[in-house]
């Protein structure tokens, strides 16, 4: 924990802000619990990839953005999309393939997108959104809007060609983009060391003349501070940053993966460093009452429950929707 994120006496405003971070992480956690549960019940089709354990990266990074900024992420994108402010019910609706879902039910769990809040899309081809992230950042520079783009991806994604092309271009053009690598130690079932010859992915930034920083991705404040600094740099026209947030995927890769490949004790160690737990402790140490901490959790639980109920009552898309949205003009 660095200086800036050590608990201190909090003002009322600060307390509210910190509790809100906790609430946001709980919201994602509860949302995903329901996704898991409803997958087993057959309401979620295909597959779903939970970010349980990584909520501090989603919340910390997205809360370092301001209105007008934007974000792209992966199939493991529930957390980031919700952290940007996508409505819970419409997010559920999309995961269940319902007409009022974020994408009218056409995208699904892997493709949550909400342009209203700057969530430009969850992408299911590894690395494919990094070039697109540059485009969003380019628009900001082109029009001089001052907006910044945050792009989330995993450790395993740093080995695909699109990663390389994107970081290179972002740097040479000094695009206002922050690359947030969520190093959760695995790409699908492969530990990083079996696929990647270096240990610190942040070091790859040097190949692009870009700052790279490794941070504790399970501490929401550390994430927020680091991303905020990178965002500031980007806004100032100084170009992109690569942030490697160390975190852990508490569940398997997708809903069909029991994650038996984990070394013994690893999960337990990381559970002890669960981001919600850590921020709860931080709050307690900063003198926030347990009741307030519990209230944040309860609020999240309730919001998720209500949203779920609404979404489950929504209809599937009408057949006519099948042919819509291919073209704007035809």
């Amino acid at each position: 924990m660095n200086e800036r994120t050590r608990p201190a006496k909090l003002s009322a405003e600060e307390r509210a802000e910190q509790l809100e971070l906790l609430r946001a992480m709980h919201e994602i956690r509860f949302f995903e619990h329901e996704c898991g549960r409803l997958f087993a019940r057959g309401e979620v089709r295909g597959t779903t990839h939970l970010c349980e354990g990584q909520e501090a990266v989603s919340v910390g990074a997205c809360r370092a953005l301001r209105e007008g900024d934007s974000m792209t992420c992966t199939y493991r994108g529930h957390g980031a999309t919700l952290a940007m402010g996508a409505p819970l019910d419409e997010s559920f609706g999309e995961v269940f393939g319902r007409a009022p879902g974020l994408c009218g039910g056409k995208g699904g769990s892997m493709h949550l997108t909400d342009l209203r809040v700057g969530a430009l899309g969850s992408h299911a081809i590894v690395g494919a959104h990094l070039p697109i992230a540059n485009g969003a950042a380019f628009e900001a520079r082109y029009r001089g809007t001052g907006a910044v783009h945050a792009c989330f991806f995993g450790d395993g994604s740093t080995n695909i060609g699109a990663f390389h092309e994107s970081l290179n271009l972002a740097s040479i053009w000094k695009l206002p983009v922050v690359f947030v690598c969520e190093n959760n130690l695995y790409g699908e079932y492969s530990p990083l060391a079996t696929t990647t010859p270096i240990e610190r992915l942040a070091d790859r930034a040097a190949a692009y003349g870009m700052p790279g920083e490794r941070i504790d991705g399970n501490r929401v404040l550390e994430v927020r501070e680091a991303v905020a600094a990178a965002v500031e740099r980007a806004r100032a026209g100084e170009g992109p940053t690569l942030i490697e947030a160390m975190t852990y995927r508490q569940k398997g890769h997708s809903r069909t993966d029991p994650a038996k490949y984990r070394p013994e004790g690893e999960l337990e160690e990381w559970l002890a460093r669960d981001p919600i737990l850590l921020h709860g402790k931080w709050l307690a140490e900063a003198g926030v009452e347990q009741a307030e901490i519990d209230a944040a959790e309860a609020a999240a639980r309730e919001a998720v429950g209500e949203a779920l109920e609404r979404a489950l009552a929504w209809p599937e898309p009408e057949p006519a929707a099948l042919l819509e949205d291919v073209w704007v003009a035809s």
């Binding site: 493709h111 299911a124 081809i125 699908e188 057949p319 099948l322 291919v326």
Partner: protein, 325 residues
């Protein structure tokens, strides 16, 4: 005879191919320690070791390129690309290197590369994980394309692919992994370029592969109840393509219905129909019909995806329309 799933047949074919020839090796993302994203390679690395069964980084260009280079030096690589949709990220290697290298070098090299990929829709994987991507590769001379629809064909075509001296892309349909069939201890190879007459009939020739073959069979059952004898043919490979078997059938039935799970544009079905129209013009008593999904990406929602994919009802209706013509 052992009851074997499509998935199990693929596993067995890979095992037997590795056992038969030390020049065969197998690489891909999570094919080793984890046994494959679709569990088609469970136990294979345990048996053959890390020298011959290799987990790769997420680097499809590197995977396909490595297979090409190794094949140039005489090995017989079997590479896995997890979802067929991901051929997109390795498309240059496949279209511009793998397919052309032999020709460009005046026959100096042979490229016995097999790539297997999971294709097809119906399972709710969304637009980027559900495509019949074999249709993206039809206009690229130099690639053989296998599209098995049964456990026996999965086994037989995989063995033939690995033993073939040319590049073969082997598409396994995700919707068929649990389809079962009794297979002998040593199932037969299936020659590349030989169609199977799945069901004989004299009323109409229906051509379909993979999931659509099964749905066409359903349709044929239903139509049999109405006294309509469908001849169902599964080409099993799109390149080389067993045109003769289909043409001979059309000569008898004078009706052709082709069913596929990809839109019409640039598809194998359209290619077949254009050739039948050119070469069997006089034999047709009705316009050749192509039963296809609409011109849209694959939607996620269950109701939409079900509407997108041709089903037995639509196939039967196309057959009846052809006969009623």
């Amino acid at each position: 005879m052992t009851e074997t799933t499509y998935k199990g047949a693929i596993n067995k074919a890979i095992v037997d191919a590795l056992a038969a020839d030390d020049d065969v090796f197998f690489l891909g993302e999570d094919v080793g320690a984890a046994g494959g994203a679709f569990k088609t390679s469970v136990g294979i690395q345990e048996r053959f070791g890390e020298r011959r069964v290799l987990d790769t980084p997420i680097s499809e260009q590197a995977i396909v390129g490595l297979a090409i280079g190794a094949a140039m030096k005489g090995l017989r690589p079997l590479a896995e690309i997890m979802f067929a949709d991901f051929v997109g990220v390795a498309f240059d290697q496949i279209a511009n290197q793998l397919a052309k290298y032999r020709y460009m070098t005046g026959g100096q090299v042979k490229l016995p590369v097999t790539i297997h990929l999971a294709s097809g829709g119906g399972a709710g994987f969304g637009a980027q994980h559900s495509q019949a991507a074999e249709n993206w590769l039809l206009n690229i001379p130099g690639l053989k394309l296998a599209v098995p629809g049964t456990p026996a064909d999965a086994y037989g075509l995989m063995r033939a692919a690995v033993e073939d001296d040319d590049p073969v892309l082997f598409f396994e349909h995700k919707g068929l992994f649990n389809v079962k069939e009794d297979l002998p201890e040593e199932p037969a190879r299936v020659e590349l370029g030989r169609a199977e007459v799945v069901r004989e009939g004299d009323a109409v020739t229906v051509v379909a592969t993979q999931l659509m073959r099964h749905r066409a069979l359903e349709a044929a059952d239903a139509l049999a109840g109405k006294g309509i004898a469908v001849e169902l043919i599964d080409p099993r490979t799109l390149v080389p393509f067993d045109f003769a078997t289909i043409a001979t059938s059309v000569d008898r039935t004078n009706h052709l219905v082709v069913v596929q799970e990809a839109p019409a544009g640039g598809s194998w079905g359209a290619t077949l129909i254009s050739r039948i129209a050119a070469e069997r013009f006089e034999m047709l008593d009705a316009p050749p019909a192509l039963v296809v999904p609409p011109d849209t990406p694959v939607p996620y929602a269950g109701a939409l995806e079900a509407a997108w994919l041709p089903d037995a009802e639509k196939i039967a209706a196309a057959v009846e329309a052809s006969l009623a013509y």
